[in-house]
């Protein structure tokens, strides 16, 4: 039991240290890269960094063993998870003439957003125009006619 608790404490401190390092890594030097000199210009890449993580550990008393030997079963459990995301945003170009910021467009993300929007818009528009078209002609459909005859 003591060994298990010791092990759990070690795991907790190890995971906390790992997460601290992970969050620490998302500092300014991760956002602005090292300047790269090329011919007559210096390029500084910059991007967005997002890091997150969480963990949870717990223990609790269980039922007394069936044999009645006075042993109490306990449960120890835990879990941890995390993620990191980094994407380029722009490059800073320094030349003898001046400093410029050149933005970087992630075309894949933009196209994905366009397709998602189209997938959301199309059913709406189809429904709208179908409803608008239904009111135009007052002719009965085959189904409506059949139902009217049955009545």
């Amino acid at each position: 039991m003591i060994d298990a608790e010791k092990g759990m404490q070690q795991t907790i401190s190890g995971t906390t240290e790992f997460m601290s390092k992970m969050i620490e890594a998302a500092n300014v030097s991760a956002v602005f890269g090292k300047p790269v000199e090329h011919r007559d210009c210096v390029v500084i890449p910059c991007g967005e960094v997002a890091v997150g993580g969480g963990m949870g550990f717990g223990n609790g008393p269980g039922e007394t063993s069936e044999q009645g030997k006075g042993l109490t079963l306990t449960g120890i459990g835990g879990g941890a998870g995390g993620g990191a995301n980094a994407r380029p945003i722009a490059v800073i170009v320094m030349t003898p003439e001046g400093v410029r910021v050149k933005p970087i467009m992630d075309l894949t993300k933009v196209l994905l957003a366009e397709f998602t929007m189209a997938a959301f818009m199309l059913p709406w528009l189809v429904r709208l125009f179908r409803a608008a078209g239904a009111g135009k002609g007052k002719e009965l459909s085959f189904g409506q006619l059949k139902r009217a005859i049955k009545r």
């Binding site: 956002v31 300047p35 997150g52 969480g54 550990f57 945003i89 722009a90 910021v101 959301f120 818009m121």
Partner: protein
């Protein structure tokens, strides 16, 4: 940092990077960071905000735009506007027809 992780809290603020000098100009990168900490976890979101250019006595700021995010937001805004406009146009036609009859 380990202490920060165990102490819950959050912070929002600007960060400044190491100044870099080239061609007689000094560039200071400025970032924007959002940090949240809770017991046993944390979250950091850090993005570039601008660069400060010091050219002699002149200090000017060049903002850094996230064009991808701007494009995505404009696509969603435009799509939503089209759907809302189409719905209101359809409603307007429906009311007009009902008033005629």
């Amino acid at each position: 940092m380990q202490q920060q992780l165990s102490a819950p809290g959050w912070s929002i603020g600007k960060t400044r990077g190491e100044p870099f000098t080239a061609f007689g100009r000094q560039v200071v990168p400025i970032g924007y960071a959002i940090q949240a900490r809770w017991h046993g976890g944390g979250f950091t979101w850090h993005r570039p905000l601008a660069v400060e250019i010091r050219d002699g006595d002149n200090i000017r700021r060049l903002p850094i735009h996230d064009v991808t995010l701007e494009a995505i937001i404009s696509i969603f805004m435009m799509g939503s506007a089209i759907v809302i406009l189409a719905a209101s146009w359809k409603r307007w036609i429906h009311i007009k027809r009902r008033n005629k009859s």
